[in-house]
Symmetry: C2
Subunit: 422 residues, 2 copies
């Protein structure tokens, strides 16, 4: 049955401004897609629809997380005074090895999915581990929860502990087993080919990843240009590549199918052109870039150049799953750029919101906006405890973004369905 939701509706059709409908109406069809929004009920032409009145609450698109490591959930918020390499060696790799045990994986992954839900993230691009069965389990947990996810069994076979290395054959076999179960058209939860990053994958492994991508038309996720030492290492490992991005491109792993690359802190020149040409999505992870001290990604420049940019929590390099707080950090980091170069304006609230919703959402289909045809992924924000003065609707949203947390999220929707606590 069609549904109409009444609330104060805010979303970003365009990067530079919010659409704001005070006491607006939003109609959703039986397939969970937005029919239209309007400021009065009759003009929706939905006399047959059930009307749900959310009163004085805010109705906004749900959050999308373009980069998060599910098996680093235990390490969220610890070891934050280490740098990238000792952090990987001493915390991240030992933790990921534990996911050979599906019981451990289930215990942790249940909490991880619950926490994504808590913070209103209804779609995510997720790194799992090399372990096929734990990855399958995570994908089933997402299915059960009704939350959209592209989940990657991680491909890696060099520069890592033995327990996290897998043969190329085993990697392909594992993927094909996951593909058989999950690679359905229109499925909410699907596999995504996930070479950890160039330093972790031999040329044979990268070639096999590229072949899986080509054969099954799977999307791709990985890390790109996070750190200067990493970039130098990639150049030595793939000496024929003209830039780090090109090292992926040569294996068919950079935009031949929809591709999201995390970080891109040092992306410029040829690499920037390559990402643009291949329509690669950049997952900007400002908390992670701060915590493992890699640098400030030039997001304003990437946007001006026309690149696609969304936001990622990058737990556990990032400490926070809450994408609203990632918006705040994205704005704050851009202010540091601005401080050095006043030619480049810092990010506005609407730009940060748009990156987290419509821009990031485009990686999952028609997701992240309330325009007609978009899947209805939404949050209902009950900000009574933050709304103690004569705030405008936009100020209420800004205050929720800066001050709120999961407590103010009253309802969550993915693809038209209300999603209850997993």
């Amino acid at each position: 049955m069609k549904k109409v939701y009444k609330a104060h509706i805010l979303y970003t059709k365009e990067q530079n401004r919010f659409e704001v409908l005070e006491n607006g109406y939003l109609a959703v069809n039986v397939n969970g897609r937005v029919i239209a929004v309007a400021t009065d009920l009759p003009s929706l032409n939905c006399a047959d629809a059930e009307v749900v009145d959310f009163g004085d609450r805010l109705l906004i698109p749900a959050m999308n997380d373009l980069h998060v490591h599910a098996p680093q959930y235990r390490n969220q918020g610890i070891a934050m005074d280490l740098e990238l390499l000792p952090w990987l060696q001493n915390y991240t790799f030992p933790e990921e090895m534990k996911y050979a045990d599906t019981d451990y994986a289930e215990r942790m992954y249940r909490r991880f999915v619950r926490d994504l839900w808590r913070f209103g993230t209804m779609r995510a691009c997720v790194f799992a581990t090399i372990h096929t069965e734990s990855t399958r389990l995570l994908m089933r947990l997402f299915q059960e929860a009704g939350i959209g996810a592209l989940v990657g069994k991680v491909a890696m076979n060099r520069n890592c502990p033995e327990g996290l290395s897998e043969s190329v054959e085993a990697m392909v076999k594992g993927y094909e087993s996951l593909i058989a179960e999950f690679n359905k058209p229109e499925a909410l939860v699907r596999p995504i080919v996930t070479p950890r990053f160039i330093p972790s994958c031999t040329p044979e492994m990268l070639r096999a990843c590229g072949e899986l991508v080509a054969k099954y038309r799977l999307p791709v996720q990985s890390h790109l240009s996070e750190n200067r030492d990493e970039i130098a290492l990639v150049q030595s490992l793939e000496p024929e590549s003209t830039c780090y991005g090109d090292a992926y491109n040569r294996y068919g792993l950079l935009g031949q199918t929809p591709t999201v690359m995390a970080h891109c802190v040092f992306t410029e020149g040829e690499e920037l052109e390559l990402l643009k040409r291949n329509k690669v999505m950049v997952a900007h992870c400002p908390t992670s870039n701060l915590n493992v001290s890699t640098g400030i990604a030039p997001i304003r420049k990437l946007l001006e150049e026309g690149l696609r940019v969304g936001l990622g929590s990058d737990v556990s390099g990032g400490h926070d799953l809450n994408i609203f707080r990632i918006m705040v950090y994205a704005i704050q980091m851009s202010k540091l750029h601005y401080q050095r170069n006043h030619e480049r304006r810092f990010l506005t609230l609407s730009e940060a919101f748009w990156m987290a919703t419509k821009s990031a959402g485009s990686f999952f289909g028609q997701v992240g906006s309330f325009e007609p045809g978009y899947e209805f992924d939404a949050l209902v924000i009950d900000d009574r405890d933050l709304n103690h003065s004569d705030y405008s609707l936009l100020e209420r949203l800004e205050r929720y973004i800066y001050l709120g947390d999961d407590r103010q999220i009253a309802h969550r929707f993915c693809r038209g369905q209300e999603i209850l606590e997993p």
Copy 2:
């Protein structure tokens, strides 16, 4: 009656390391001061004390906020895409003018004090407005709540709207009325002389502030070297001063009595020496420095030079009252320094914690540690919902700092008294 609290006890006697007592005991005397901590009950020699068992919870010193503007509470989390000057003119000054109305002030200040309580801040250096009666009201609210505060009626008479300008005589008269009511030895809530900053105060106003300080031995708070334009303006307004800090010093407003200066982003050379010599406390406000895009304060350098440094929320330039999150930002900002100059190590967790507790606490007396003689200002952290794996006590504390919020604060103590929701 003496009390003994049992819990996992963590605090920072020294900057570089945590004291950790698993299942420790802490004894408090009838005056609310710590007698001792120990890992067993008998060695405390407190057979006559009531023992309160907090079980598996963490017991840590309470938070101290060295810089916060109570009348900017309404504006917390809005207008964050403006720069300092339009933000002041369009949001901050118009809001502060409303505090001429004590009914408005009471409504807002009650929420403000409640929110400090929520986040475990038991001592604060607070800017009010020029309005004497609203300031008195705020001080009474702190008294009722049992939370320690140094509260400043703001002195200002130039470069501001008429409604926020007060004559020198009215300023002095207002202060003397507050001093008569509140300036008692050992009082939890006391006045602090608060020239807004040099650009807001004529030489006559600054001179009168200095006279109040000298006559009543009151502490001082203000802003220092937040922004390059501001520094240039001060130089033009006070051409005989050798640096911004010297402009305060010449009026007896820089360490002649205990003094806290917010920001010090650009403090170096002579100003740094002056702050050191005069034992001025620096209130580091990293969120504010990001939000109004002023820069990154060189905290590692200030600490190495032996300056006193604590943390401040600076609401509403800062968006967050939660000092635990300010610790996270302090570490993250120091990593950006580190990234540019690997000679200077970034701040560790113990350093950030020490700045928020023992270092900042020293501005209020013997506050911020659990050493014998310290006032028992403490928080009991119930981190069950964050503690789902085999974490060490330090990892539990780190996770609370990075991931927690007011929900995990089970009890709050100030000066030995449990402080309930105001």
